[in-house]
């Protein structure tokens, strides 16, 4: 049995290596310009990834949450249970109406439900996940007790906090685009807002530079990993076939 498993594993590992090698070369061929090989790889990738996502949705969302509860609910005496299970089926039927141009308007009932749910989730996410934590983190820099509890010099923490507060406020002001018409007909922001926004530009420049450096480091790591995987595969081929 173990031998069978090993025999099965070796070709799958090898096949995975071959596919990985081939697709990496096809994608990296873009470095010499847009070409048919790159397009073949990207179109195949989009197709396979979409198919994979569809199967994951089917097996991990629709089967356990939609299909499996249907029969037990239909056989049960509880009207509430039947409604709980049948409403998503009705919603699904409405969404499928989108396929027909004449009936696609009915799909807006389900879309309205999804948009309403999405709006509520993003409001809660924005308030509890971003606004409150960001405000709290900024305020904490000026908490003398917290600095003492962490055994850090309060002036140093408050100084850093002042820079962060200035960065947050001036960056927000930078995105204020309210302007008034001038005597010469041009539109300009209020003078003080203009000055604060200029400082905000510096902070945004620093932030985007830091993000750029982080993304570039990640991309460089991916490039090194891909080149390393190509060499690993060639070594594997040489050792497997004794080349």
């Amino acid at each position: 049995m173990q031998g069978k498993v090993n025999k099965m594993n070796i070709p799958l590992d090898l096949l995975s290596g071959v596919l990985s090698f081939l697709f990496t070369i096809l994608i990296l061929s873009y470095l010499i310009g847009d070409n048919p090989l790159f397009r073949i790889a990207t179109y195949l990738f989009v197709g396979i990834a979409s198919g994979y996502v569809a199967t994951v949705i089917w097996w991990q969302v629709l089967v356990p949450r939609l299909m499996t509860p249907l029969l037990p609910a239909l056989n049960s005496d509880s009207l509430a249970l039947k409604i709980f299970v049948l409403v998503p089926w009705l919603g699904m039927a409405f969404i499928l109406m989108k396929i027909s141009p004449r009936l696609s308007g009915i799909a807006s009932l389900t879309m309205a439900f999804l948009v309403g749910a999405g709006a509520a989730v993003i409001i809660a996410g924005a308030v509890t996940g971003t606004l409150i934590p960001q405000f709290e983190a900024t305020i904490n820099f000026f908490d003398r007790d917290l600095a003492a509890a962490r055994n850090i010099d309060f002036l140093e923490v408050a100084g850093n906090g002042a820079i962060i507060l200035a960065g947050a406020v001036t960056s927000l002001v930078y995105f204020h685009f309210g302007a008034r018409p001038q005597a010469d007909g041009s539109m300009r922001r209020f003078g003080l807002i203009e000055i604060i926004a200029w400082v905000g530009r510096i902070f945004i420049g620093i932030t985007l530079g830091a993000i750029f450096a982080g993304v570039y480091a990640a991309a460089l790591t991916a490039l090194i990993e891909r080149i390393s995987s190509i060499f690993d595969f060639i070594t594997l081929l040489r050792t497997t076939f004794g080349l």
Partner: protein, 203 residues
């Protein structure tokens, strides 16, 4: 229909939102979110079938690039059939994931290293204002602070300047941007809940 869709969106949104703040609404919130997850899944499947229809139409009309559409359809339908029959945990599906999807994603990320370098050079040539200079200067300082150089770490860069720039100066701007994005998101959500924006149609 316009009124019905608006009522559905506002009622759903309000009930889910109340569930975040009042315990009495937690059950209804869980139920509605469960329905939303199912329907979002169905919507995604419909979207994928729309992708199939668009590319099948391109092949039928023999448009330019229809060979690529054929490849996309072969990949999509093949993966879909295998996945439906065998489940995503089957070794064949794992082969597709580890042999094609993940390496292509990593290779596309690797291409970004070249594209970003090219974009940075273009920025330096075309836009030499304060923001552009600050942007590139920060990036260079952070590279010098984190890169492994042949002659060892640069004094002060890795230990002092790099953490000071990322954890204080860059954090200030990032916090402003994050708060701005959150305020924008909040406004968009509230406009939907008040029925001012109706992106779901329903004429």
């Amino acid at each position: 229909m316009r009124i019905i869709t608006a009522v559905i969106a506002i009622a759903t949104g309000t009930l889910i939102l109340l569930g975040y703040f009042f315990e009495a609404f937690t059950d209804i919130q869980t139920l509605l979110l469960n329905w939303a997850v199912i329907l979002a899944g169905v919507a995604a499947i419909v979207g994928i079938f729309n992708l199939i229809a668009v590319h099948a139409d391109k092949i039928r009309r023999a448009e330019k690039g229809s060979v690529y559409s054929a490849l996309l359809l072969i990949g999509l339908v093949g993966t879909l059939l295998v996945g439906m029959l065998l489940t995503p945990r089957h070794p064949v599906m794992q082969l597709l994931l580890n042999g094609i999807i993940l390496p292509v994603e990593a290779a596309l990320m690797a291409l970004l290293a070249v594209s970003l370098l090219y974009a940075a050079i273009r920025l330096l040539r075309r836009r030499t204002d304060v923001m552009g200079i600050v942007f590139l200067l920060t990036a260079i300082i952070l590279f010098l602070g984190s890169a492994t150089l042949p002659f060892g770490d640069m004094p002060l860069f890795g230990t002092l300047i790099h953490p000071w720039v990322t954890q204080i100066w860059a954090l200030g701007g990032a916090r402003g941007i994050l708060i701005g994005v959150a305020l924008g998101t909040l406004t968009t959500g509230l406009r939907v809940l008040f029925g001012v924006d109706r992106p779901y149609g329903g004429n």
